[in-house]
Amino acid sequence: MDLVDTVNMKHQNSLMTTQLSHDFETLGRIALAAVDRRGVEYADVRMTTLDSESVSASNGHLDGVESETDTGFGIRVLYRGAWGFAASPVFAKSEIERVAHAALDVARASYRLSRSPVRLSSRQPVVSDYTTPLRIDPFSVPLPDRIALLETATDRAATLEGIQSASASILAQRHTMQFASLDGSRIRQTIVLCGGGLSVTAGQKRDVQTRSFPSSHGGDHGAGGYERILEMDLPGNARRVAEEALMLLSAPPCPSGAFTVILDGDQLGLQIHESIGHPLELDRVFGAEANFSGTSFASPDQLGSLRYASDIVSVVTDPTIPGGLGSYGFDDDGTPAQRVELIRNGILVGFLSGRETASRIGALSSANNRAAGWRHVPINRMSNTVLLPGTWSLDDLLADTGSGLFLTTNRSWSIDDRRESFRFECEAAYEISGGKLGQMYRNPVYTGRTVDFWNRCDAICNETHFKLWGTPNCGKGEPSQSIFTSQGACPARFRNVAVESSAGKSRGHGGG
């Protein structure tokens, strides 16, 4: 599969197809009129509505059904090169005008400390809309069906002897996002997200092991409909996941040493997120997160020269790929989604940017300026960060590897504030012996230094193993914003990786 050719989305760039709501037309007109011709160089208004429904169950019984509706608007103003932003959930003409004036007042206050004015990279005004492609609207699936699926899955897992608890959940969200800017853009997006997962814990009190499916930390989520849940087949996988949790309980600790390691796609997804995505957020590179999320070891002067990874590693940011938590038509600057290279054959060639940060390196925005809803200002965020597939089938890669470790499903992680180093724990490791998966180990941990680690990558599985893994809780910014991203990954091999058991070191047999 050529990802670019098969997944690029066509935007409907026609005024006739763009259906902004009547309320938003009014809101946008009032808001933009309130700040226009008052020294303002640029302004935009966003109105977002989130409809969310979550269902959770444990041990065969429903835990709860929760639903949420969240509507509000935010107005962003660039006044003499300084930003202001204000937002409110209250839709009244007086409140819209108050918020618009507040945004302008805030921008004027920002101007008092301005040293060099903010410049925005160019983009053409856009009138367009975008809708997530899906087969089954998750909100149309009867609640009893969703409840029954979760109760069945958790019951099948929980009834195995030795299982402490089994829990599962399904989340459905619809984000309706409308955008209007002073320079003429009018955009409406309807993004539907759906996902879920199963988590099974074996053991008692302080001696427990957990196995998750299809991924940990709440499961796997992406853009699309209820077909995502059906494809997961949580009931059909429940017993296997429970058995694996029980096997982990009696499995030996992961051996320590330098190993050849194959990272499964879900763990590699988080590795990409933390050690490629975050360091390449351009606002972070410039110090916007110096007080909170941190900075980056990467810098613009390394473009074209930094050997970030081995020459088989190429990474792109691509919100046009359907099915990801970072799949969208436009970012919150109104820039059309596009595929942008970040690492080409191991060399750093791009950053994740918005209009403001892109202008500082003389580039166009990569369409990565995103806000976590109406109440937040857009900042540089990941969309779908994709490690392009290689050529190996997993069976061939295991056979070629001979001996080593296969690590799957993240359990915990920690990264330094410059993203120079990392420590990841997984739920399970499997010995690779004789070219096949063998003994299961518990509590595996691997550590490394970012650039050194990525230069140890010598094989990537092919596109038949490709999947976008969702991260529904990426935190950044002050006030803190939690946003959805995805990482595209296939299993990949890394040589000479430091591995140990989180419960303490035990002697390993190398293989590195």
Binding site: G64, S67, A86, S88, S114, P142, R375
Partner: protein
């Protein structure tokens, strides 16, 4: 139009309760928050935001069924739609276990937590005040990043069983990081419920001083070191310990180190930890999200385990620690105060031959929650102690430690304490001296 920010309109709550369908109980929780954040980066205002936020949780209950619907409006039509949605969900559900009865109305303590001056503080005033931080950074040839956030919050709890409570508070949170082009950085922060509690210049000076002292760091071999943890490092450890052990859920599950050991010695004699939501500077509330009055709880007294905190799902008698509906986390203390020692941090440093002074920990995550084992890195101020003096900067290092074991090894806490805010919790904490603290790698 909704209630004005800073207060909850009781009539609006009554109007919602009047919409309860027949044979149903309805519980309402409302948080109306107005926040102004001025964010610095590269010594200029990088973002400046003013946000009014309103969250309304509706719990609809009938017989043994209940459901939670969240919305962000007090307008009649959205509220009616939300109650309709809740009713449709209730009709779908099967019968469950008997519901815990709604809390009965009880007198709640009065706390003066709302400061009008803070509520009225403008972005212009914030910019003017932060100019002093920029000036201090400029003197040291440093850039400054950070955020000053002023928040006015009103909370209302009501239910059809006769509950009607409202309260308001203000709070101010400031953190600053100074840095030079080499990457040397220093951090400091302050928290209070009034703008008058915050000395921006003092915070900037401490951050700048740490940044200057962080220049030219040396790389040390990983291994065990005696550490002096400043409040920015003690705070995250205490907070993670509270997640794991000081709440009713882990206590009842038996995973808390306190479980089965109430009345027993669990920490050093000099450690007393209380939760004090009634201290206005701790950012607490007079009542929790179930409407139970809040009260101080002594968690550990002179090293002896005394109690954990509860809501009405974890104990028959709640201590007033219910979090927002639907949190899925269970109660934990959010206003922890650790008693001070008798000797200053500087005096403890003077007594250390070889060690490290740690300003702040970063990116803490669990290694083995059952053993309170965590990992993280140092950041924005890691210094070497030699022969009783702080002699220079050290490259950041990763640690892997059991919080409980580290606290048990602690030999002292300082006489000075600071307010520390993290993940919505406030702590008032001293510095702590811990021998043989384990560092595993150089991080950055």
């Amino acid at each position: 139009m909704n209630a004005e920010a800073g207060t909850i309109d009781r009539k609006a709550l009554e109007a919602i309760l009047n919409l309860a369908p027949p044979a149903c109980e309805l519980a309402v929780a409302v948080v109306d928050e107005s926040s102004r954040t001025t964010r610095l980066a590269e010594s200029v205002i990088q973002a400046n935001v003013s946000v009014r936020d309103l969250t309304v949780w509706l719990e609809l209950r009938r017989d043994t069924r209940s459901t939670l619907v969240t919305l962000h409006s007090l307008e009649p039509e959205p509220v009616k739609a939300a109650i309709g949605q809740a009713l449709r969900i209730l009709d779908t559900l099967g019968d469950g276990d008997p519901l815990i009865p709604l809390e009965s109305a009880k007198p709640v303590p009065r706390i003066d937590m709302f400061d009008r001056k803070t509520d009225a503080w403008s972005p212009k005033q914030a910019a003017k005040a932060l100019r002093e931080a920029v000036r201090i950074a400029d003197i040291g040839r440093l850039s400054v990043a950070g955020a000053l956030t002023l928040t006015s919050t009103a909370r209302g709890i009501a239910h059809t069983g006769g509950m009607m409570l409202t309260a308001s508070r203000t709070e101010v949170d400031l953190s600053l990081t100074c840095a030079d082009p080499s990457g040397a950085s220093g951090w400091d922060r302050a928290y209070g419920h009034r703008i008058g509690d915050i000395d921006i210049a003092a915070v900037a000076k401490r951050a700048a001083s740490r940044a200057i002292r962080s220049r030219d760091p040396v790389e040390l071999e990983p291994g065990p070191y005696t550490v002096v943890l400043e409040p920015g490092a003690v705070g995250p450890m205490l907070l993670f310990l509270s997640f794991l052990s000081f709440g009713g859920s882990p206590f009842n599950r038996g995973t808390s180190f306190m479980a089965g050991h109430i009345g027993e010695k669990v920490l050093p004699d000099f450690m007393t930890i209380r939760d004090d939501p009634l201290d206005p500077r701790m950012g607490g509330w007079p009542f929790d999200f179930e409407g139970t009055p809040c009260a101080p709880v002594t968690l550990v007294e002179n090293g002896v385990a005394r109690a954990v905190v509860h809501d009405r799902t974890t104990a028959e008698i709640s201590t007033g620690h219910a979090l927002a509906p639907g949190n899925g986390f269970g109660p934990y203390p959010k206003c922890m105060v650790m008693s001070p020692g008798e000797t200053s941090t500087d005096a403890w440093i003077a007594g250390i031959d070889q060690g490290l002074l740690i300003t702040r920990f970063w990116y803490i995550n669990y290694v083995n929650p059952m053993k309170t084992m965590i990992t993280g890195t140092t950041r924005d101020g890691t210094f070497r102690i030699q022969n009783g003096k702080v002699t220079g900067a050290v490259r950041n290092m990763r640690f892997v430690e059991s919080i409980l074991e580290a606290f048990r090894r602690a030999t002292a806490v300082s006489s000075e304490r600071e307010y520390f805010r993290m993940f919505g919790s406030t702590m008032r904490i001293p510095s702590m001296v811990i021998p043989a603290f384990t560092f595993t790698e150089v991080a950055s």
